[in-house]
Homo-oligomer: 189 residues x 2
């Protein structure tokens, strides 16, 4: 019975960590996480060495789904320019959700203020992968400086996401013209 | 004696709130703030209705110095383009400091996740003032769409600041070409 229950407790803890951390911040307590997951603290510490590890695991668990939502499909044969724009269309769509607080992989790094934290390292890799996508598409699209364009695109992604998350602005009417200008300047087709 | 001590306690609390919140996040406890300030909790609550009010006051206290550091002097007669670039030069300089964690007025809003919080409201106004500066300079510089350019510039400011704060990137070699491209596209002289 204990063996059967373990995967379910793990999943509920990962879900609670992802949801509550995003909603309330990384300061959320172990008690609140365990209560939301319906799991005892004892069980939590059998599954995860620490709250830090639980948080890192919850970010890792969602990373591939997050990336899949943002990136175009592997067999999407549109131009690099359209494939890059696809990511920003997805961001614009995500930012329209009422509970949007910004990209969780950016927010968690801002909140933790510790790049060596296991959760920061997971989040850093997720954003590096997105930057890598931009760089590869920039190269394929003949950008004059693919590294610079990739840095500019992830800057726009994070800036727009952060500002939408705090309700200072909306990506609508902002991201598309900004990315268009940067792609044009870099000569990406 | 109590009367003489009050201004000093207040200043120490504002300083502790600014420093510790920036370093450790908005979850910092009242005990830690009072300890760092060398002020009793009783005295703190005589000076500030709540920790939220102390945080808001600490942000407000620094707001004009922050804006003065970023903006060009009132008698700085350079072109709108150079006056806008001045702000980004200042950001680049700030981001080089070893304890830089991003613009505190962005970070606090991301962490609080509550736009009605008194500290979020102070921070929101500070960023609105900066956006207003960009918009005024964009207009003076003949931008084709001053509103759009102002939104783009504050997006770049916040994106670059956030990414430098988490050590994902540095503004060097990134902000100047990005802002230049946006100013060129908008036709700002």
């Amino acid at each position: 019975m204990t063996t059967d229950a373990k995967p379910s407790s793990r999943e509920r803890l990962l879900e609670a960590a992802a949801t509550l951390t995003y909603r309330d911040g990384v300061g959320i307590g172990v008690d609140a996480l365990c209560k939301a997951a319906g799991v005892s603290k004892r069980s939590m510490y059998q599954l995860f060495a620490s709250k830090d590890e639980l948080l890192a695991a919850s970010l890792k668990e969602r990373a591939s789904a997050y990336t899949a939502t943002l990136l175009p499909a592997a067999d999407d044969n549109r131009s690099p320019r359209r494939r890059i724009m696809h990511v920003f269309d997805q961001l614009e769509s995500q930012a329209g959700a009422p509970d949007f607080q910004g990209c969780r992989y950016l927010v968690v790094q801002i909140e933790l203020k510790d790049q060596g934290h296991p959760a920061s390292r997971v989040a850093h890799r997720v954003k590096e992968n997105l930057t890598g996508f931009f760089r590869a598409e920039a190269e394929r699209g003949g950008a004059s400086d693919p590294d610079l364009l990739a840095r500019q695109l992830i800057l726009v992604f994070d800036g727009a996401s952060a500002r939408a998350g705090i309700q200072a602005d909306s990506p609508t009417g902002l991201i598309v013209p900004t990315v268009t200008t940067l792609l044009d300047a870099a000569g990406v087709s």
